[in-house]
Symmetry: C2
Subunit: 91 residues, 2 copies
DNA sequence: CGCGTCCAATACCGATTTCGCATCGGCCGG
DNA sequence: CCGGCCGATGCGAAATCGGTATTGGACGCG
């Protein structure tokens, strides 16, 4: 599992559509498809249902989405924590 | 920033020593040195002071360590969240 | 004072991973 | 049927990553 896989997953979940998620992430569609599959394989569960119109979250995906956002938020918090030690704390 | 960089950083912080961290992570020392530098470059701050005896956390490193653990915990939580949807909730 | 030792950093190379382009297969709507 | 819109896959190029070997610097001991 990698941070970009998590970012990809969240984008797909929010767009409900791989093409749009790809455009938003500035990557092409195949990497998204592959990384999502790799993520599902590693987790041992399908996260999306592939429909002819796009991607719809499955229960496992719903559960993962919440925690995935928490991971990304934690990463942002980590970045800011370092930032804060640089500037002499102006809050 | 990648999850392995975060794992590497935490291991170095806990061991205070690159060689021991490398052994614990089952990688060799050079990758650790490189990934740590890449992390520091990306964050724009030194996380450790390099001493002749090993690595000592700097203030930025202390701040990052707390949040880094939170990230790894969040990843674990995400894994378990999916796991929970697989087994029909036996709690 | 050297000299051996222990530390992280770097050079170099091979292996693995990842990407993008092109294309395929499936599924609807007309 | 057929055309268009999905995600999935094959493939070759590019980037990433790890390991071995080596360097450079600081301390401890004779």
């Amino acid at each position: 599992m990698s941070l970009s896989q998590i970012e990809y997953f969240v984008a797909i979940a929010e767009e409900g559509h791989m093409g749009r998620a790809a455009r938003r992430l500035h990557v092409s569609q195949p990497p998204l498809s592959r990384q999502l599959r790799a993520l599902e394989d590693e987790l041992g569960a399908r996260l999306f249902a592939r429909t002819p119109r796009g991607m719809r979250l499955l229960p496992a995906g719903e559960a993962f989405l919440t925690e995935a956002r928490a991971v990304l938020d934690a990463v942002e918090a980590a970045r800011r924590a370092v930032e804060r030690t640089r500037d002499p704390r102006r809050e």
